[in-house]
């Protein structure tokens, strides 16, 4: 999907700083700050970007022809499921990774290698534990050769701005998570980047702390205190995206593409309980579940054969979700956002479980709803041994790898086969890590269903002893 620049929009985000063209120019004469560009030139342009991690042209495509732009004064969200390539795209934009094909330009200049006009904030904070807050904030300036006195002045100003006053000489390990991420923000902001890249900056924080840091950041942005041109936020939290952004790009996975674009025109501050807010969240929920191709039906799973990747979801969790949806008040059909908040589970984790059920033929996931199929309702009400039999049937029918392993074991005289035999086979179709996760999922499901056994000491699959007899 191709996106055209939105520079002609009448009303940009209601909270955009009054005059970014001046705020954006670094007052210190350093060459780092964003320079005014001819109006209409977006601060970030991503054109036809494709990415494979492997040089091999048959290896999986992680990003497929991604196109997007970010204008000045915008906060844009990249929203997508885990593994949809959001971080990959962000790293390509930052110049930390190179794309397989396509072009990225920041402030009109093509990106090759670490880009000058971007600064990144990391999910894991990524602070140097042996440097104080002040030193951590200064490192980027030090790398640019800024003289000590000026470096100190600018770092102190950034620390002050982000609310870390008084913590200048503290070490990261003395700070709480929220304070650490503030350091992460200060370290990026002090460079006055043309575009600030945020890779799930709030997801390692607890809910309350995340909310505080988020609103503080929005306030600074809204009041025009930040000398940054634009913000690109990666998240898989829909509410976060709706709360913060002017525009949301929804990414689909396998391969990663921009599947939809939503403008958010709600006035700031945005309240989560506001019906318009909720409606938008529900809408995006629907988009994210509908647009996914990777939740395959039976024909697709069978066609995928051994290239079908299995998510490592515990059978306890699968059973738990079936029980919950089967019971009152859902009676077999439930709204995923409702379940997500009832279980305190992230959208992403929940979708993964729901789609595993779909893959196994226990449920259908449509437009943000999950509907149990008859075998699942039977499963939910059955005793353990019936459950195991049901699960085994579905496993052998729906998952080609399961029937494959079982057939190999039956054909072998000693009914044993080493793990690497299947590992190498899977690696023809997927990456090493994916093969590993797929086998792990297979092993745990097969153990539960008792369709075959696995001995971790010898790394061997075998049929159960009673069956061999």
């Amino acid at each position: 999907m191709n996106l055209t620049p939105k520079s002609l929009r009448a009303a940009p985000g209601a909270h955009a700083p009054a005059d970014l063209a001046t705020a954006g120019v670094a007052p210190h004469g350093a060459s780092s700050g964003p320079r005014p560009l001819p109006s209409g030139v977006p601060i970030l342009t991503v054109k036809d970007v494709c990415k494979r991690y492997d040089a091999d042209p048959d290896s999986p495509l992680v990003l497929d022809n991604v196109n997007m732009t970010v204008d000045r004064r915008e906060i844009v969200a990249l929203l997508g499921r885990s593994g949809s390539g959001k971080s990959t795209l962000l790293r390509i934009i930052a110049g930390l990774l190179s794309s397989t094909s396509g072009q990225v330009s920041v402030a009109g200049k093509p990106v090759s290698g670490p880009a000058n006009d971007v600064a990144m904030v990391f999910q894991s904070f990524a602070l140097f534990p042996w440097l104080t807050v002040l030193e951590n904030v200064q490192v980027g300036l030090e790398a640019r050769g800024v003289p000590p006195a000026e470096m100190r002045k600018r770092a102190l100003a950034a620390i002050d701005l982000i609310g870390l006053d008084g913590f200048e000489n503290a070490y990261p390990r003395e700070l709480s998570g929220g304070m650490r991420q503030r350091v992460g923000f200060a370290r990026a902001l002090v460079l006055d980047p043309g575009i600030l890249l945020l890779d799930e900056p709030f997801s390692a924080l607890d809910v309350l702390t995340a909310e505080t840091v988020r609103t503080d950041f929005l306030d600074l942005w809204g009041d025009g205190h930040l000398a940054i041109g634009a913000v690109l936020l990666v998240t898989h939290n829909i509410e976060e995206a709706v709360q913060m952004c002017d525009r949301i790009l929804v990414m689909s996975s396998n391969p990663g593409r921009v599947a939809a674009e939503i403008e958010v025109t709600l006035p700031h501050p945005r309240v989560r309980t506001d019906p318009a807010f909720r409606q938008l969240v529900d809408h995006i929920y629907g988009l994210m579940t509908r647009r996914r191709k990777a939740a395959p039906g039976i024909a697709e799973t069978l066609a995928a054969g051994l290239s079908l990747q299995l998510p490592h979801v515990s059978t306890n969790v699968l059973a738990g979700l079936m029980e919950m949806v089967d019971a009152e008040p859902h009676n077999g059909v439930a709204d995923l956002p409702v379940i997500s908040s009832a279980l305190q589970m992230s959208t992403d984790d929940l979708l993964k479980v729901a789609e595993t059920l779909q893959m196994l033929g226990f449920a259908e996931v449509v437009e943000g709803d999950i509907r149990l199929l008859p075998p699942a309702r039977q499963f939910a009400q059955a005793e353990l041994d019936v459950r195991k039999r049901l699960f085994a049937d579905h496993l052998l029918q729906r998952i080609p790898l399961a029937s494959h392993i079982r057939r190999v074991l039956q054909e072998r005289p000693n009914h044993r086969a080493p793990r690497p035999r299947f590992e190498t086979e899977l690696e023809d179709h997927m990456s090493e890590t994916a093969a590993d996760e797929t086998l792990k999922a297979m092993i745990s499901w097969a153990r539960y269903a008792e369709v075959f056994a696995y001995d971790g000491d010898t790394a061997q699959f075998h049929l159960d002893a009673e069956e061999e007899a």
């Binding site: 930390l96 980027g140 790398a143 650490r180």
Partner: protein, 584 residues
């Protein structure tokens, strides 16, 4: 130390007035005399080194206990110089091996070999070179001796740094790249700090190893003449030659003092300082402290000296090479890269073959196949000794270590004690063993063996105590709850829990034992020489005889044994322990 300067001198924000900054604090009362004293000793020791060789002959070593402090000073300076050299070597060698995959392909195996060559061998092969550098001067002999000590210290430090460099957290690496760090800045801001805790711990182990070999390293033999450098090691050698038990007592006492001083003035501050470089971001309840570090940080003297140095060091981090026009990086196809690898590996193989052929030709001038068989048998004998000793030490120390580890108060006493005993050069006690063997006419093949592990067994105790301290509390509760007792409790619960730590300790102990064999398999007391049949004794003998072909043969066999032993026994065992038994 550079690193210290770099991170030291953190100044507060509300900068006090310049005058207030210069006002001495009460720490200066200690700092000033300490610094002046150390400086004076340094100058004095340095002056002594700059003498002609004839000076040594005019003042031979005496057993007068009052000379011991002077000898201790000389030895200490030697050790310090060697440690500095080891650090420098480490800081250069390991990054080379990591940054270039191809360089790593020869540097890392080379390190494996270098660390299994006994110290004595280095000494006998390099003495002539070092003496030739400064003819007729003490400095040459000093350098030879320092080099020998260096060879007992450098390798494990380098390995530690190499390991750290390979495990630098990837998000911090991304920060460095994303924020445009220069290679130099990345090195000092990320890589070195990240490696410091491991490096400091290995420096302490290296120091212990160094003390053990200092006796051997202070007697420099060239052909038929032996230059004896003044030092604790030389004193000990003379005491042994003259069968002076009293003198040996004095040496033991001196070493005790020296090690305590080293601990207080160097290692404790280093450990306390290194603690701030631990990469985990949780705050430990108890952090190591050191009065010396506090003094360095609080006294005006150090701060005034440190500030300009720190500023200068930091300034280098801002240096940038003039940005060259970016050449388009040649995009080599994977095939071309693979071809390059083959060519490189082929070149390495040819080089190895060349060295091997020359080595064999050289050995062939003085040995027969019979020699080879004989030496391999000797190697087997030494290996049996090492294995039996490690097993014995484990049997003894594991139960004790676990008991101690489960009692925090006891552990707090035993842990530093074990560390101290590991640092103490156990060869000071060798004469006692000889006396006992001669007195009761014991079989040296058996009774000399324990000496090999006397010094390094403490690593087993040390690690097992640490392991059982880390034993999860809930598992302990389960043991109590299920009323596990006796052998079952050990087999099912305790042993698997401490096994990974036991392996770590045993690897260190075994490496040390192989190295110690050249000293421990041939021991003297006056003119009584007791020898066990083994590879260590063989190498020691060939060193004394200056029989170079046989010396090379002995070393080659030794290297093969140690490297194979590590690959075939320790690595699999370690991997197994890590994979299956790591609790947490």
């Amino acid at each position: 130390m550079t690193m210290h300067v770099l991170h030291g001198g953190r100044d507060g924000l509300g900068s006090p007035s310049p005058l207030a900054r210069l006002a001495p604090s009460r720490w200066d009362v200690v700092a000033l005399p300490l610094v002046l004293g150390l400086l004076a000793l340094l100058v004095f020791g340095g002056h002594e080194v700059a003498q002609p060789l004839s000076q040594l002959e005019r003042t031979p070593i005496t057993l007068d206990p009052w000379t011991l402090p002077y000898y201790a000073l000389r030895t200490t300076l030697r050790m310090l110089a060697a440690l500095g050299a080891s650090l420098l070597f480490t800081l250069v060698y390991a990054p080379l091996a990591v940054k270039s995959q191809r360089a790593g392909q020869i540097l890392i195996p080379a390190l494996d070999i270098l660390q299994s060559v006994p110290v004595l061998t280095y000494l006998s092969f390099t003495v002539t070179f070092f003496l030739g550098l400064f003819p007729g001067q003490v400095v040459g002999a000093e350098l030879a001796s320092i080099f020998a000590i260096f060879t007992s210290q450098a390798w494990n430090m380098t390995f530690s740094f190499y390991q750290s460099l390979r495990t630098v957290p990837s998000d911090l690496e991304e920060v460095c790249t994303g924020y445009h760090f220069s290679t130099w800045q990345r090195y000092w801001r990320l890589e070195v700090p990240f490696a410091i805790p491991g490096l400091v711990w290995n420096m302490m182990m290296s120091m212990s190893g160094g003390w053990f070999f200092v006796v051997a390293a202070e007697a420099v033999t060239v052909g038929s003449t032996t230059i004896t450098l003044p030092g604790v090691g030389a004193y000990l050698a003379l005491a042994i030659e003259q069968r002076d038990l009293g003198a040996i007592g004095w040496v033991i006492l001196t070493m005790l003092g020296v090690i305590i001083l080293y601990d207080q003035l160097l290692f404790r501050p280093l450990v306390a300082w290194a603690d701030r470089f631990r990469a985990d971001t949780v705050q430990a309840e108890e952090r190591p402290t050191s009065w010396v570090l506090t003094m360095v940080e609080r006294s005006t003297l150090f701060r005034t000296l440190g500030r300009p140095a720190g500023g200068a060091a930091r300034a280098t981090l801002r240096w940038r090479l003039p940005s060259l026009p970016k050449l388009p990086a040649p995009r080599l196809s994977p095939r071309a890269v693979r071809m390059g690898d083959y060519v490189w590996q082929g070149a390495l193989a040819v080089m190895a073959l060349y060295v091997a052929v020359h080595g064999i030709q050289f050995m062939a001038t003085g040995i027969t196949w019979g020699d080879v068989g004989h030496v391999v048998l000797l190697g087997l004998a030494t290996m049996v000794r090492v294995v039996v000793l490690i097993v014995l030490a484990a049997v003894i120390w594991v139960p004790i270590g676990v008991m101690v580890g489960m009692r925090p108060r006891l552990a707090a006493i035993v842990q530093p004690l074990a560390q101290f005993l590991a640092a103490f050069p156990s060869n000071l006690f060798f004469p006692v063993a000889v006396a006992a063997i001669v007195h009761w006419t014991l079989n040296p093949d058996i009774w000399l063996s324990p000496l090999m592990i006397l010094g390094t067994q403490w690593y087993i105790l040390f690690n097992v105590v640490a392991g059982s301290q880390a034993y999860p509390v809930d598992l302990r509760d389960v043991i109590a709850n299920l009323r596990l007792r006796g052998w079952k409790k050990w087999r099912d619960a305790l042993l698997p829990g401490v096994f990974p730590h036991l392996v770590t300790g045993a690897i260190t102990a075994s490496g040390g034992a192989w190295n110690a064999s050249i000293v421990a398999e041939a021991v003297s007391w006056g003119d009584t020489h007791v020898q066990a049949r083994g590879l260590g004794a063989y190498i020691a003998q060939m060193t004394t005889d200056a029989d170079f072909p046989r010396l090379v043969l002995g070393n080659v066999v030794m290297v093969c044994f140690v490297v194979l032993f590590n690959r075939l026994v320790w690595r699999p065992l370690y991997a197994y322990a890590e994979r299956r038994l790591r609790v947490s």
